[in-house]
């Protein structure tokens, strides 16, 4: 079982590395956006899946990353090319710094209240981004330098590999967290926070760490996206649909598992893009989202990966870490 999973992961990784060499450059943007959501859903899973704190406001951190990188690049006068991509970690650091006060407030609440606080944060940020014209350009948007010399057949390739690197980073961090003592504490908090505290788990510090790490990863991905689209507007980068998409993908694949968010993103994002391309601006993919949401709630409350794991012969000892829930929905 474990060997098969490793083999599948290696094949997937090799396939992802080689994809730009074999697909038509005109459709590589599907790969860019799919990898973006692999990273986003995986990063969200660290706080939402492992810790059980369902943030619907992570699009706010995505937007902070997008604006932060644009502002840094503009301030430093970095020309288009690889330079802005090298500054992506700075966008992550700025997003992490912004996540500290947000987490300090939001993580004092739990369950539905936490969800509402994170949504409120995202909309406040959107309003701020619209109104702080001197900083963000307001509704006029904030421009990135356009890469010079990257032809139409090549322009997606650097962004593809940047997104691939960030997705791999998010997966690496998620894997590390999950196998660590920190991760065990997060899973305990997810199951019963009061009892975890009574057993010595520093719940506030653990949650804060998960929240900030998750936000920083999302912020870095937001930075690359901002550069990819070259112009960022409040309603496009602080978009509730981005936040909902990463959550839905994680739940579809299996929140609280390592592979679940990856699977969810690989299934949902290409389907969403296909609908968007086929039906133009009708936003029919929202209907798909609603349908997927209903299917997940009704048929796969724990997501695909935990449901599959239950049907395969496996070591029961490994089962517990994956978010398998004998009592109901994850």
């Amino acid at each position: 079982m474990r060997l098969a999973a490793r083999g599948a992961a290696a094949a997937l990784g090799a396939g992802a590395l080689l994809l730009p060499l074999v697909v038509d450059p005109s459709i590589l943007n599907v790969g860019v956006l799919t990898l973006m959501y692999v990273g986003l859903a995986t990063a969200w899973n660290i706080i939402g899946g492992y810790t059980g704190y369902i943030s619907l406001g992570h699009a706010g951190f995505f937007g902070i990353g997008a604006y932060a990188l644009g502002l840094v690049v503009g301030h430093l006068g970095v020309p288009g090319g690889y330079g802005p991509l090298l500054l992506v970690p700075l966008a992550g650091a700025i997003t992490a710094a912004a996540a500290l006060p947000v987490g300090w407030i939001a993580l004092r609440t739990r369950a539905a209240t936490f969800v509402i606080v994170t949504i409120a944060f995202m909309f406040m940020l959107q309003i701020l981004a619209t109104n702080l014209r001197g900083l963000t350009g307001g509704s006029q948007g904030l421009g990135y330098p356009v890469p010079q010399g990257w032809g139409p057949d090549f322009v997606d390739v650097p962004f593809y590999y940047a997104m691939l690197a960030l997705a791999a980073l998010a997966l690496g961090v998620s894997w590390w967290v999950r196998r660590s003592k920190l991760g065990l504490g997060l899973l305990a908090i997810r199951d019963d926070e009061d009892r975890a505290s009574a057993l010595g788990v520093r719940a506030r510090a653990f949650k804060m760490t998960a929240f900030v790490v998750s936000a920083a990863l999302v912020g870095m991905i937001g930075g690359v996206y901002g550069y990819y689209v070259t112009y960022v507007y409040p309603q496009f980068v602080i978009d509730p649909l981005i936040g909902i998409s990463m959550v839905l993908m994680a739940f579809l694949g299996g929140a609280g598992t390592l592979a679940g968010p990856v699977l969810g993103a690989l299934l949902l994002e290409p389907a969403q893009l296909e609908l968007a391309y086929s039906f133009g601006s009708a936003r029919l993919y929202l209907v798909l989202y609603a349908a997927v949401f209903l299917v997940v709630i009704l048929l796969l409350p724990r997501g695909i990966v935990p449901s599959l794991v239950d049907r395969l012969p496996h070591s029961p000892l490994e089962e517990g870490r994956g978010g398998g829930n004998p009592d109901g929905p994850a």
């Binding site: 899973l187 997810r190 199951d191 506030r204 070591s315 517990g320």
Partner: protein
Amino acid sequence: MALLELRAVAKRFGGVVAVEDCSLAVAEGTVTGLIGPNGSGKTTLFDLVTGFQAPDAGAVTFRGRSIIGLAPDRVHRLGIGRTFQLARVFPRLTALENLLVPVPRRGLLGLLAGARTAGEERRAREMLDFLGLAALAGQLAGRLSFGQRKLLELGAVMMARPDLVLLDEPAGGVNPGLLESIAAAIRELNGRGVTFLIVEHNMGFVMDLCDPVVVLDRGRPIASGPPAEVRADPAVLDAYLGA
């Protein structure tokens, strides 16, 4: 000096008086029973000791040091463990992982290291063996029976090697076979030097296991002493046992 001491502790929830002018001491090495009718403030007292609630008045000391205002995890690190009324485990973790959660680690590097060292896992398996749950190590805790969860909860508390353990109704809803296992585990751990404060409604369990016994009524102690003495106390008979 008592291991745990409460002096004139009071706690109100709005107009409801949960605990009032409550003073009691738990001596080191004892298994102290805390009994009383429903709503007499027993669980609130546990919450006050373990940092889940802050008292409105009075003092709570552990080894002579005030523990008022400390968060539950800090109280735990001082050496006080507790269980909850309804056999709370981490249902989506295995029995083994449930025992690994409370094992303390030092520093950031300790938290970032693997969830289990070989030594920690060996200790957890020994604890499962001691509790008679060795065969269930890989089982999700949520799939265990109620009594097995009670045992696992006790085991988890013991993994941090506490000096004082507060058990909230360890016998509640447990079948007679497992009840004896729980009592035997408590006796064995007490023999190793662990002090217990036990809230329990099962009088046979309390009278067999605990000495002294403290009786709480309407948030304040009305009697305390050896089980036989408490059992014969007219105030206790009137408030609780005589019913």
